[in-house]
Amino acid sequence: MADTASQMAPTTARDMTGPHGPKPRRALSGRNIMIYGTLIVVSIYYLLPLYVMIVTSLKGMPEIRMGNIFAPPMEITFEPWVKAWSEACTGLNCDGLSRGFWNSVRITVPSVIVSIAIASVNGYALANWKFKGADIFFTILIFGAFIPYQVMLYPIVILLREMGLYGSLTGLVIVHSIFGMPILTLLFRNYFTSLPEELFKAARVDGAGFWGIYFQIMLPMSLPIFVVAMILQVTGIWNDFLFGVVYTKPDLYPMTVQLNNIVNSVQGVKEYNVNMAATILTGLVPLIIYFVSGRLFVRGIAAGAVKG
């Protein structure tokens, strides 16, 4: 034993002093140059239009007419932003995008809340309370996700007209809530299926009912999936153009429709700086949503999609 120990000792000592692991690679290897080069080119490809938009929106019209779209502004002005928000004209209205913004808020907030509230209960019922015909119900619901929207456009016009909701925000909110249902229900069902079944059983033994289990057990465990659903719905509904233009009237157009009307207006000079500012303003809401909840989004997507 003693012999072995003395033989071992030098080896151990040497191992402890020096660096471990394989030889590190050089930072500027051909491989790295390839990888980072590609990444940088792709980043520029994506970031350049954004750069042009921001820069242009901060220039005055005389500077834009000089034609250097990549040049930074010589004189920074926020006037185009103010104009885009509160003065730009669409048709007879000259109160800028602000009207569209508030319309979009009034469409998005209730649509998101209603669709998520209903879809989460749907998903919960489908995952945990296997009622008779649940599978058929689910299949029909999922089938709805594959029908192109255009097919249903006109029938819904008739439906809304018959209900007296055509041209109103309420009608549009209902349409958005219904169209969000298949994908959201699938999302929630898969998430709730991935939660341990014994938890649900324990709550039943503990005397909690359908709503008790939903609110006290399931909801507190489901923040990530609610964030995912919220992001999907907010961006989807905020960016919607088709339903907005079909089911509302000019006074109630959402921001996207109004943006189009500002940018594509044929009268007068094309005010590129105002157009750029208006576009950025319109895209700001989904952008902020992504930045604030991106991390939760990834977690929730992973939890909901992999299992079930």
Binding site: P196, E198, L199, K201, A202, A203, R204, V205, D206, G207, A208, G212, Q216, I217, P220, M221
Partner: protein, 363 residues
């Protein structure tokens, strides 16, 4: 002795002709079971035998396809789980992750709308019994496996129920902790004297905890008896083979008169306590490795050769061959046997089990 007191006791849980189907598959087939007041009944079987399904039916977590369930004389076949007077402990503990230990234990009581001081009192009492008082403000994620399972038991305990249902509660724990909690569960049962139904696939848990064991296979109870009875007088070939490690030595052969005869091995079974006549002369001869006598004992004896020796410390298992079949012996851990050694063994008739060759039930 315990058996007699229980069989005269009040049935606490009665299962009558229970049928459960999942689509085309029949999981439980006209199953009948009486569990007596204060009894610790273990449902034992390999996976897929329907033991957990039966427990879930008793708990009301599965809708039965036929038959009835009574708890304390009340027909609860279609009652909600919470109305049945049961508490349940799950394999995965199933603690509500967002609630503290206290919240977990009081959740059921809050659903019953009990007054606050009563809830606090019951939770405190359960915490004391299970010695989890220092953990009350913690979340389940901050507990070890053993602590979590204690909390899960506590959650059933506070509800002051007639029947406790355990669904493999110790399976997720490591071996040492499992043995500790097993002892605690037994003490808890002695203290509370509640009816307990316990599902497990671990025969050591079953033998040590149970007043009676129900061995299940293919949705039917194969034998329902005390651990001693099941060990000594298995009702059929399946039970004989399932219980014991290594399992009972089983040799198929012919019975003519008092002599069992199989492939170059004949033994007299004179004095065997037949419960009925075999349906043919085909029978199974069974004896447990630990019941084989070494040396020339009182009964008939044979010479065998040790083929494989497995020293376990406390005992030594020796594989030999008898009647053309593998034949295991359990010897003292201190005995020095090596493979190739000749051994003389005796097969005492009182330790032998005979099974019918056709329907495989005990003779």
């Amino acid at each position: 002795m315990t058996i007699t007191t229980q069989s005269t006791g009040q049935p606490s849980v009665e299962v009558r002709d229970l049928v459960l189907k999942f689509g085309e598959l029949t999981v439980l087939k006209n199953l009948n079971l009486d569990v007596y007041e204060g009894e610790f009944l273990v449902l034992l079987g390999s996976s897929g035998c329907g033991k957990s399904t039966l427990l879930n039916c008793i708990a009301g977590l599965l809708d039965v396809s036929g038959g009835q369930i009574f708890i304390k004389g009340n027909n609860v076949t279609w009652a909600e789980p919470s109305e049945r007077g049961i508490g349940m402990v799950f394999q995965s503990y199933a603690l509500y992750p967002q609630m503290t230990v206290e919240g977990n234990m009081s959740f059921g009581l809050k659903n019953q709308k009990l007054p606050k001081d009563e809830i606090a009192q019951r939770v405190a009492r359960a915490a004391e019994i299970l010695q989890i008082e220092p953990l009350m403000k913690r979340k389940p994620s901050a507990l070890s496996g053993g602590q979590r399972q204690r909390v899960a038991i506590g959650r059933a305990l506070v509800r002051d129920v007639d029947v406790f249902l355990f669904d493999e509660p110790l399976s997720n724990l490591d071996a040492k902790l499992r043995a500790d909690l097993r002892v605690e569960l037994k003490q808890l049962h002695q203290q509370l004297e509640n009816t307990m139904i316990y599902v497990t696939h671990d025969q050591v848990e079953a033998m040590t905890l149970a007043d009676r064991i129900a061995i299940m296979k293919d949705g039917l109870i194969q034998q329902l008896a005390s651990p001693e009875e099941i060990y000594n007088r298995p009702a059929n070939l399946y039970v004989a083979d399932f219980i014991g490690s290594p399992s009972m030595n089983l040799i198929k052969g012919k019975l003519s008169g008092d002599t069992f005869d199989a492939d170059g091995f004949a033994v007299s079974v004179a004095g065997y306590d037949f419960s009925r006549q075999p349906s043919s002369n085909e029978v199974w001869f069974g004896i447990r490795p630990e019941h084989v006598e070494l040396g020339e004992g009182s009964g008939p004896h044979f010479e065998v050769t040790a083929e494989v020796v497995e020293p376990l410390g406390s005992d030594t298992l020796v594989m030999t061959r008898l009647g053309g079949e593998r034949f295991w012996l359990r010897m003292d851990g201190q005995s020095r046997v090596t493979s190739g050694d000749k051994l003389t063994i005796g097969l005492p008739v009182h330790a032998v089990s005979l099974f019918d060759g056709r329907d495989e039930t005990r003779l």
